[in-house]
């Protein structure tokens, strides 16, 4: 019989497929997350508190803009490395990963792709260092899955644009120095308008970012609105060429990719804690782990996690080779969020009463993953994206 070990945390040995550089980056992210983020997570969730030192720390570690070119202050590493970082950060809390994803994929990334050379040099290095915090405004109070119907407008005026409207469910907004905002740009008030991107800065007259209250999920990160009341944005803060939904969708695709990886970390945490809990906890004189019901739950978790790891690893390789398609990311984001949420719910159940308290940190993941399953394209919307690919028929617009 072969003397090989069955690794109960990495059943098909996916980490052995990683290149040297990606593994070193994973190790750095893991060491940082476990030593600096894990001790803050309980307070973060309990008191709804995001320690802004985290931005600078992540900047110093190079965890912001992992795959942004080095010339703008990013690390210039692979997509796989970016995914591995997301996994390690989300192993602690989806809120911290959300902060990082938004900064990297939804702020630094669009500026690096759509921005002018001047914008890239003006904004990205400070964002990479965590000296400034960014947010991304696409979703509106009445337009979530259907962003094309947005009502925020940017009217052309001399020297710039005048923004009016509101964005909602915006990660980082109350603490952001910079907001990448998508609005319908109009040359005149009667124009139909075309979606364009603007870099709105804190302190611009008429711009406010109120905090969203009573959030029961992602409590360790900040969420708020973006309100524009005749905000003048100078021409030099507008993305010059990108028009239509392609711009925001490219950003979302990058962030969704990180989510597909991040959820693996959350799921692994829940699985590993559950395993330890059922081995330690005795009822009727035996460990809970001695029960068939418990064992098959763990078996399902490990099977799902292994599939999630394989999907993410393969998608990362395809992205690094430039062979990816946005629907591949939809498939991975949808599957991995759905599986992680299910694993967290079952883990909560396996922890019994202890799963209800924050001490065991399972319920934080369970609550967080409700948001993660919903944001950046809900589970069902990604199902419709795949449905359209499979059948050639779009079914986003209801036929009734």
């Amino acid at each position: 019989m072969a003397k090989n070990l069955f690794n109960i945390d990495d059943a098909l040995l996916f980490e052995s497929e990683l290149g040297e550089e990606d593994r070193l980056i994973m190790e750095t992210a893991r060491d940082y997350a476990q030593s600096k983020l894990e001790p803050r997570a309980l307070k973060g969730n309990t008191e709804e508190y995001f320690d802004q030192d985290i931005a600078r720390e992540m900047g110093e570690m190079g965890l912001l803009g992992v795959n942004i070119p080095e010339e703008y202050g990013g690390a210039g590493a692979s997509y796989t490395a970016y995914g591995l970082v997301a996994r390690e950060v989300e192993r602690v809390d989806s809120g911290y990963r959300s902060f990082m994803s938004v900064q990297s994929s939804l702020v630094m990334y669009p500026i690096s792709i759509f921005g002018t050379e001047e914008q890239k040099h003006r904004f990205i290095p400070k964002l990479a260092a965590g000296e400034t915090i960014g947010c991304f405004g696409l979703t509106e109070p009445d337009h979530g899955s259907d962003p094309g119907s947005m009502v925020t407008t940017a009217l052309k005026v001399v020297g710039g644009w005048k923004l009016n409207g509101a964005k909602m469910w915006i990660t980082n907004s109350p603490i952001a120095d910079v907001a990448v905002v998508w609005a319908k740009a109009k040359e005149s008030p009667s124009d139909e308008g075309v979606i364009r991107g603007f870099i709105v800065e804190k302190g611009m007259k008429g711009f406010s970012a109120p905090h969203t209250k009573y959030k029961m999920s992602l409590r360790a990160s900040e969420t708020g609105e973006l309100v524009f009341d005749d905000v003048f944005v100078p021409d030099e803060n507008a993305f010059p060429d990108i028009k239509g939904l392609k711009g925001p969708f490219m950003c979302l695709n990058s962030a969704r990719y990180g989510i597909a990886w991040g959820t693996i970390g959350a799921a692994e945490f829940c699985y590993q804690k559950s395993r330890q809990y059922v081995l330690d906890r005795k009822q009727f004189g035996k460990p809970l782990a001695a029960n068939q019901l418990i064992q098959t739950k763990l078996a399902n978790m490990l099977t799902d996690i292994t599939a999630m790891q394989m999907l993410a690893l393969r998608l990362g390789k395809l992205k690094d080779e430039g062979r990816d398609h946005p629907s591949m990311t939809s498939l991975a984001k949808r599957n991995n969020c759905g599986r992680a949420l299910e694993i967290a719910r079952i883990a909560r159940d396996m922890h019994g009463g202890n799963g209800i308290t924050g001490d065991y940190r399972i319920i934080h993941h369970m609550m967080n993953l409700e948001s993660v399953n919903t944001y950046e394209g809900t589970y069902d919307i990604h199902g419709l994206i795949l449905g359209r690919e499979i059948t050639g028929i779009q079914s986003f617009t209801p036929k009734g």
Partner: protein
């Protein structure tokens, strides 16, 4: 001062392992830089950042050990030496010490620094053996290092105080992981590390005497840590419990 730090790739202590039929099965994919060596690298970096100088690292291991060298380079070391093995040699501490001493005998350095032991075997032998083979003054289990008047000042923690030893250079020291918190290399360091020089040499090309490399000790078998027996709980009046516990300590535990 110039430091050469000897580093080792060891299995991640958090990786799962099994013991079957007296043999140790480890997940060979989860390998990390030995924590004691990481402390030695960190301290060398701190001292050279303060007083100037260079830090180089040397590592014996199979091709895969290049990752461990890169980790030290990402932390800030300037250069690596990779002494390559096939990975299936039956080496023990003595064999490694022979290889290192031969490799280092013509190198220039002020301080050879080692972790005081490795996490996988906890032997703690190689550093002392290399010092003997190279005829260097040495100190073990350092918890702090300083440089003063060209000497390496080694702080050792004793049972009832600290011992300060001044070693003239060149010298050798083995480091405890109590001396510092090794830095986590940032991504900039990791990306820059691939541009740093690593010299490789195969053990088979070193013209070493084969007999000298033969292990002088061998592990005969592995066994798991025995499970701890359940404790006993005593309830009742304090005086009665105290009497009973004292009796048991005397008659059963035989510690009184």
């Amino acid at each position: 001062m110039k430091f050469i730090v000897s580093i080792k790739m060891v299995p991640d202590v958090y990786a799962p392992f099994q013991i079957k039929d007296g043999e140790l099965l480890m997940d060979g994919d989860r390998m990390v830089l030995n924590a004691y060596d990481a402390s030695a690298v960190e301290e060398a970096l701190v001292l050279t950042e303060k007083y100037g100088g260079d830090v180089e690292v040397v590592c014996i291991g199979a091709a895969k050990a290049s990752e461990t060298i890169r980790k030290a380079l990402a932390m800030g070391a300037a250069k690596g030496y990779h002494i390559q093995t096939n990975g299936d040699e039956a080496y023990d501490s003595s064999s490694y010490a022979q290889i290192l001493a031969d490799f280092l005998k013509d190198k220039e350095y002020d301080v050879l620094s080692f972790g005081k032991q490795s996490q996988d075997t906890d032997s703690g032998l190689t550093g002392g053996m290399v010092a003997q083979l190279l005829n260097l003054p040495y100190a073990t289990n350092a918890v702090g290092l300083e440089i003063e008047d060209g000497n390496l000042i080694v702080k050792r923690q004793g049972d009832s105080g600290q011992e300060m030893i001044a070693l003239p250079t060149p010298c050798l020291v083995t480091c405890s992981n109590d001396m510092n918190e090794p830095r986590i290399p940032n991504l900039k360091g990791i990306m820059a590390s691939k541009r740093k020089p690593v010299e490789s040499v195969a053990v088979s090309d070193m013209n070493l005497d084969g007999a000298a490399l033969e292990a002088v000790s061998k592990v005969t078998s592995y066994s798991p840590v025995p499970a701890r027996a359940a404790g006993q709980k005593f309830e009742g009046e304090p005086e009665e419990i105290a009497t009973k516990v004292a009796q048991l300590l005397d008659t059963e535990a035989n510690v009184l």
